[in-house]
Symmetry: C2
Subunit: 432 residues, 2 copies
Amino acid sequence: MYRIDLPTYDVPKKWYNINADLPIDLPKPKSSEGKDQVGDLPNMLINECLKQELSNKRYIKIPKEVRELYQRMGRGTPLCRAKGLEEKLNTPAKIYYKREDTSPTGSHKLNSAIAQAYFAKKEGVEKLTTETGAGQWGTALSLASSLMDIDCTVYMVRVSFEQKPFRKSIMQVYDGNVYPSPSMNTEVGRKINKETPNHPGSLGIAISEAVEEALADEKTKYSLGSVLNHVILHQTVIGQEIKTQLEIAEEEADTVIACVGGGSNFGGAVFPLIKDKINGNSNTEFIAVEPAACPTLTQGEYKYDFGDNMAFTPLLKMFTLGHDFVAPSDHAGGLRYHGMNPQVSLLANEGYITSKTALQTDVFAAGQLFAKTEGVIPAPETNHAIKVAIDEAKKCKETGEEKTIVINFSGHGLMDYKGYASFMDGTMENSI
Amino acid sequence: MYRIDLPTYDVPKKWYNINADLPIDLPKPKSSEGKDQVGDLPNMLINECLKQELSNKRYIKIPKEVRELYQRMGRGTPLCRAKGLEEKLNTPAKIYYKREDTSPTGSHKLNSAIAQAYFAKKEGVEKLTTETGAGQWGTALSLASSLMDIDCTVYMVRVSFEQKPFRKSIMQVYDGNVYPSPSMNTEVGRKINKETPNHPGSLGIAISEAVEEALADEKTKYSLGSVLNHVILHQTVIGQEIKTQLEIAEEEADTVIACVGGGSNFGGAVFPLIKDKINGNSNTEFIAVEPAACPTLTQGEYKYDFGDNMAFTPLLKMFTLGHDFVAPSDHAGGLRYHGMNPQVSLLANEGYITSKTALQTDVFAAGQLFAKTEGVIPAPETNHAIKVAIDEAKKCKETGEEKTIVINFSGHGLMDYKGYASFMDGTMENSI
């Protein structure tokens, strides 16, 4: 079987909340001294999402309308066997990849965007604001907002905005309002623009702009595409589907591999499976792969830190490189974040998750090999997972182990041709 | 049901050859006076493809290896119900779309590329040459050649080469050798470059370069992505799958709509269904949609003409705007061809196919509406089919007819953002 399909009616009916099964309680968000960021949350976030963020209920029902949109937007996604790659590597390992790239916007991001836009609409929210780096999240939220008929404003890190005019165009097809950040829309933006004309921007600044706009108007809410628990909750449809599909294929995963930036594609794929490991019923290894240039889990500190540069957000207990950390320019824009989802952080700290880093040139080499053998061109982020999967499959060749390796294929790289171009012409550098 | 999947094991086992069922015999290719282009064919084309080109056998077995690659590269593709679009149009019509965009290279082109690369390899061919305009065919043949481990040289119309650096990068990921045409590799190219430095190129010139290179070396063959009968033969997996999927959905198509350039996505989707109409067992309407700026079927003449500008190819009996016709610059690069597949031409001439034209700005408006309601962003070519499908659905609203409309969704538009950008900023023009 080259592909295990899930019929649309088999899309999961519930999201899985790992809070109910964590080995220890998740530390709560905190305000910093003299400020009340936690108190600001209800003005900032969609109410239902905030409720989910703090919930300990094991399963949360997916509303009928959200499930219908999941179905219409391509869920369940296929789980494919990477036969061509296996043969090229001459490995006894079996490699599967879960194709989240088959979403209309090309990545897993739509799973949370649809849910957030749905709850926002239901609560009378008229506009969502957000930030985007690589553009995957901004694209997904633009589409989801268009489907729910609400406005969407995207602050796109200026350097990305200028380097990726196509991302802007695609968001505009979905009626997204895209601004280069720092913009002139917000106090934060105007201040930075005044001090530093043509500032290249950063994810932290873009978040601050989106939050400022949301706090200023009660019909406007801020929507985040990763890091927070409710985002990963929405993404658990991925892991639940993987579980069902592995059962159909009569396989058990020895290793599950995904890239990590804020944690949403990793947590979404892994949490429904890691539950058995926490309960002592599974030996599956879960590997989170991050860029060597932004080594949050491998070299960060596990402590309370802000989610953004300007300290608008509460303090979260997480692995962090410091909220003023600026990741070097890198093509895997989705992985350049200083922090990490608190649940992923806790599980990594407790030893349930292995973390690894990979060099940019190595991950693109892995991505090209994948493209040439399996057809699909992976996103730069996804290449990180593929690199480590190939390493694992090569180890199996040495040891003769017939491991079952599952990759969460978070997105395609059709819009990341500049990264591939610089890899192929030899100008790509490893910023480390 | 939002999506009718076909499991990989249900991929068709045979290609369907419409030659066996045409209402009158297909006129044969001819040489022009004093030349022997027909005699050159064996040196130019892959032997098995040439055999298929002239075959009258109704079904031709798909080799096991080709079928396996079809399966691995995403076949069967889904047939989806355009529920969101239907609701937006408030039409009683049911609209389905066959998602050929789910191929790794984003269009239907891989169906023939895999077959051609397979037969080439089997015959000891070491290199395939081809031309590409929009880039879809060059991308598909680069991947197929990489999968079969043979070389691939793509002559890309210079103006496209310069406007679409991403297409070149994607082909290079698959190890395709891409040259702007006119190039310095061939006599034709050198002559044109000498006479007109910085010549923008044309599809006709690129074909002539690819053919010249193939004729000069016996281990090199020329591969075409549309127009010829064997290409459409390979594409009939699309229509056969549609037939099976409509049966599963318990639907009968009243109208099937596809865009036409050389005829491969149209013929591939339609031939397996048009058979019943030729036999008098069906009233389905088959609509071919072309750009108003390149109106081959609607305004061309049905006569013998060359397939390329330089008259290297034999004369084919087809609808043509003249082999020296230069289509105005237009974003639907895949539809800018002066001629038309001979089988499609014959069936149009005999009244089995309705042809329509559409204006560029109208088709992009249709494409944006589709993207906002269904998620997937269509290719500019595909937008032509969508435009006419929307017109038909609107007619149904007036008449109250519950027609079943099927669109062949030939490809996605993620790499055609420039067209969308110019549509949205109002700078797009209709070159007519």
